[in-house]
Amino acid sequence: MSDLVKNIFRLAIFILVQVYVLHKIPSLHRFIIPYLYFLFILWLPFSITRIGLLLIAFVTGLTLDYFTTTPGLHAAACVLIAYARPFIINLLIPKDTGEFNYREPSPRAMGWAPYSVYVFVLTLMHHTYLTFLEWMQIGTFLGFLIKVAGTTGVSMLLIFTVELLFPRKIKFRTNTA
């Protein structure tokens, strides 16, 4: 399967799961919505251009927004993490994109520790921005902090569960590819 087809399927699955399962789960606590859909952006290939990454992230966020009737909210957060992603990958693994042995970020491609840091930083960034936009009109600062911490924790848990349950069969990049 080509990268394009694979990622279109992935986007559809992530959005459907987010809208019909994770948004509908009776809340664990008052406002902790378990978020997972942005893992799609974290899983995009290394080789993608930065402009492409931004546009894909915007479309991803907007698709979710139209389902949850919050136009622009998730799109803004997604664009932010898409902008930050190349910087963080460069910090963690200082290499050219051509030198990667694997196509996309995964625990196997990056090693568990750098991958965890990569996921954690972007998750925190996404949730902080999202919660900040949501709570600008109402809410207290303490509530804001609790919500960011809570949603980040739940998201990290979900992401690691997904990584362990569905290890991606990633092809080793060869010269012929």
């Binding site: 948004h23 509908k24 809340s27 008052r30 907007l62 389902f67 622009g72 909210l73 664009v79």
Partner: protein, 292 residues
């Protein structure tokens, strides 16, 4: 000129980032203020179609509860039927009038339309619901939405040809005028964004005699909601030390978690009422000007 192009080439990613970010925020703030968004009408049609399919499956899990509610409602309507009443007095009897137009009938003020909920959340601070009836089905903005047993659910904020978005009571910007059934004191229903089982009734002065368990109904002065429809019951009374008002916690009559069928109620005289209000305001303003 060349420098400008070089600058754009150099910071192209940053510029794209800022443009997308500004566009997203512009959409968000515009929506928060007006509840209108770019392409929302088209997007509503697409999400609505998918939601309808998923909802068909979801229905099986709530069928029992909805059935019970409907049966109870049917029962209460059955009891109103003419055939249940006897007229023992011979001076009073039932006769069918042959005149078609009955001047004692009155004018229809509220028109009820059924609709089905296709998507609904209760976990966010701004909860919307999508229903499967839109402008083609006669729905317009600001119409009231009541549950299948006539308790208040929310208000229509956006319509597309076949679907519409409803702002439920569980939305921090929602505000519905309400009154206590026993004392008649009027206030406003809002939500603090905390517990989806409770809403707040604000604006009841401390002189009012309120007890827990009091019924809260929709106000008679609302342009959108039909009068005397159930909102909930007082669950907790606290007095606000800063103002002369109570803060009443109301347990909603509707369980927003499993709502399936709703009625959309149109006030047929709404336009006339709004027009009258506008003209009155204008008249008063003119009078002020002439007397000054």
């Amino acid at each position: 000129m060349r420098n400008i192009f070089l600058f754009i080439r150099r910071f192209f990613t940053l510029i794209v980032f800022i443009v997308l970010q500004v566009f997203a925020l512009w959409m968000l703030f515009k929506f928060n203020r007006l509840h209108q968004a770019t392409f929302l009408g088209v997007a509503n049609e697409v999400t609505g179609t998918i939601n309808t399919q998923i909802d068909k499956l979801d229905d099986y899990f709530h069928q029992g509860e909805e059935n019970r509610r409907l049966h109870k409602m049917n029962d209460s309507l059955m009891n109103l039927l003419q055939s249940n009443f006897d007229f023992p007095d011979t001076t009073e009897r039932l006769a069918t009038d042959t005149v078609r137009v009955d001047s004692s009938m009155g004018i229809r003020r509220y028109l009820w339309r059924p609709a089905k909920v296709v998507y609904n959340t209760i976990t966010s601070e701004k909860n919307f619901m999508q229903i499967n009836r839109g402008s083609r089905g006669g729905i317009r903005d600001d119409m009231a939405v009541l549950s299948s047993d006539w308790a208040v659910v929310g208000q229509v904020v956006n319509v597309s040809p076949n679907f519409s978005s409803v702002m439920t009571l569980l939305h921090v910007q929602s505000s519905v005028s309400a009154s206590l059934k026993r004392t008649g004191d009027a206030g406003t229903i809002r939500w603090d964004g905390k517990d989806p089982r409770f809403v707040l009734l604000e604006g009841i002065s401390k002189s009012a005699d309120v007890k827990t368990g009091d019924t809260v109904l929709t106000s008679r002065y609302s342009y959108n909601f039909p009068p005397d429809k159930l909102i909930g019951r007082v669950a907790n009374i606290t007095s606000d030390p800063a103002t002369g008002f109570f803060i009443l916690k109301i347990r909603t009559a509707v369980n927003f978690g499993n709502i399936q069928q709703v009625h959309v109620v149109e006030n047929l005289q709404r336009e006339e009422q709004l027009q009258l209000q506008k003209e009155t305001e204008r008249k008063v303003d003119q009078q002020k000007k002439t007397t000054n």
